[in-house]
């Protein structure tokens, strides 16, 4: 199969732009966006006025990054409350809203609402088709979408549009079929070329196949790529997945705010040839990225973790401008990616949330870091964790862990003890906390169709006087 760059002159052209040329394109698109928003969005006009800015004053990306006020989820929720339902930030006449998307609401703060135009629906499809094309999806391919379709989310609508406009045949099995029923369907189809799933669900699907004594690479020999999003994972897990399926594993970074994916691995996948984590290359001609220290808002140096701040360059309905995502990623500057392209990148498999971080016994602990420690052990099927306060006021961390079928059936008590010790040590090494491990049956742990929520913080419930 041709590389995506050989198969698409458009992509080859973008890959050939120098950083200076790419930034020139960004500035042109940004100024067009700000001109339009100043005229059509009272929310953004007010933000520009409050900073003493007019669209004409944004003569460089530097001025934009230094002076344009950022927005947060709380700002958008307040705007929606004052100007229901879409807020004054909508930026297009309400009658031109052709698709309504909302954020998932998992933060507990409330759901942002986005009104997308007909043009945006195509763009949203493109921002799904583009990363999948880079991963190896081509017109005519047969694709399985394991993310629940429809509803109110961008993830419910973007994939369908993406597969449709690229000319692939999409089976939207997420949320409507059990895992076993999905496998039965895939086996009947015979020629599946592509799977899109959350990290967690790809794990569930692979585990279910293996439990049925099916080798994915033999059952689906035409698979070109597996594409995951939404959650971190250990590199050992990614290598195992590629081994089981006989194809590469690709990853994208996306969100409702980005109207789809804003970056993805290219034809390399999530693991480099020499066994290191791959890179998610950012589609900076569609979405302007800043990666900053969340305290100081200073740009993060290459190689360090920072918060992603995004601006839509190609969305007209409910666009975000300098939106603080709260997503934490390791930044890799374009010159350090080794790609030769002008695109900046972030590291695969390690995207977390600044607001998911738990402060435990003085340590900053991210669920994604514990996932990485636990799932580095192939004999572990899944886990659930909770932090709680004991009756005498101490903070304890409990991890309930289920073994993979083969290990659960065959492991001796000594092997179990050895595995548990290894998991505890790995968690300690990566997070500086000791946890209590309890083995449970797989069925006792919750299953997640999309983003896994493995952690519960019950400390406040234990704060009793």
């Amino acid at each position: 199969m041709q590389t995506p760059f050989a198969a698409s002159p458009l992509l080859a052209h973008v890959a050939g732009l120098s950083r200076t040329e790419l930034e020139k394109l960004q500035l042109t698109k940004l100024r067009r966006q700000l001109d339009r928003l100043y005229a059509q969005s009272p929310y953004y006009r007010e933000r520009m006025d409050s900073a003493g800015l007019k669209p004409d004053s944004i003569t460089s990306l530097q001025i934009f990054k230094e002076r344009f006020p950022t927005s947060t989820k709380a700002d958008f929720l307040a705007d929606q409350l004052a100007h229901p339902p879409f807020g004054a930030r909508l930026g297009i006449p309400r009658e031109q809203v052709a698709l309504v998307n909302m954020t998932g609401g998992t933060s507990g703060q409330g759901q942002e609402i986005y009104g997308r135009s007909q043009r945006d629906i195509h763009m949203q499809g493109y921002l799904h088709a583009l990363p999948w094309f880079l991963a190896g999806l081509r017109p005519g391919h047969m694709a399985i979408n394991c993310v629940p379709a429809g509803g109110m989310t961008t993830g419910g609508w973007g994939p369908g549009e993406g597969l449709r406009i690229i000319g692939a045949t999409g089976f939207h099995v997420g949320g409507s079929l059990s895992t076993d029923a999905k496998i039965d369907l895939m086996l009947k189809l015979g020629g599946v070329n592509f799977i899109y799933a959350s990290t967690n669900y790809l794990h569930t699907l692979t585990d279910a196949l293996l439990r049925r004594d099916l080798k994915p690479r033999e059952a689906f020999p035409h698979m070109k790529a597996l594409f995951i999003a939404a959650e971190g994972y250990p590199i050992e897990w990614a290598q195992k997945i590629e081994e089981h399926w006989g194809c590469h594993l690709a990853e994208g970074y996306g969100s409702t705010q980005c109207a789809g994916f804003a970056g993805s691995t290219c034809d390399q996948g999530v693991v480099t040839k020499d066994g290191r984590r791959g890179l998610i290359h950012l589609f900076e001609w569609e979405t302007l990225f800043e990666i900053v220290d969340p305290e100081t808002m200073e740009p993060t140096p290459s190689g360090e973790v920072g918060e992603m701040v995004v601006t839509n360059l190609s969305v007209e309905g409910s666009p975000v401008v300098r939106f603080r995502t709260g997503d934490a990623a390791r930044f890799v500057a374009h010159g350090d990616t080794g790609s030769g392209w002008g695109w900046n990148a972030i590291e695969c498999g390690t995207i977390g949330r600044f607001d998911d971080m738990m402060k435990i016994r003085g340590n900053n602990v991210w669920p994604s870091a514990i996932d990485a420690a636990v799932f580095a052990h192939a004999d572990v099927a899944d886990y659930a964790g909770r932090v709680y306060t004991t009756e005498d006021g101490k903070t304890e961390i409990e991890v309930r862990l289920a073994l993979a079928d083969q290990a659960a059936m065959t492991f001796s008590p000594e092997q179990r003890q050895s595995l548990f010790q290894s998991v505890r040590t790995a968690i300690k090494e990566r997070n500086n906390i000791w946890v209590t491990l309890i083995e449970v049956e797989r069925a006792e742990l919750p299953e997640f169709a999309y983003k896994a929520r493995r952690w519960k913080d019950e400390r406040q419930a234990g704060y009793r006087l």
Binding site: Q2, A7, P9, A129, F133, R138, P139, I165, G167
Partner: protein, 56 residues
């Protein structure tokens, strides 16, 4: 021979001719999108066929 198309029908027929050219693109990322556009136009042409039957 059918009557020459006028108005909306002429515009759509012209768009279809133009987009057929785009569909011959060798860019694999774009050809599906062009085909998507072409088939939306084809649908609009087809749903307007009712106008071809003139009421007596």
């Amino acid at each position: 021979m059918s009557e020459p198309k006028t108005g909306d029908d002429a515009i759509l027929a012209n768009m279809l001719r133009e987009v057929e050219t785009l569909c011959r693109s060798e860019d694999a990322l774009l050809c599906g999108q062009y085909a998507h556009l072409r088939d939306r136009i084809r649908a609009l042409i087809e749903l307007r066929e009712c106008f071809q039957v003139k009421p007596k």
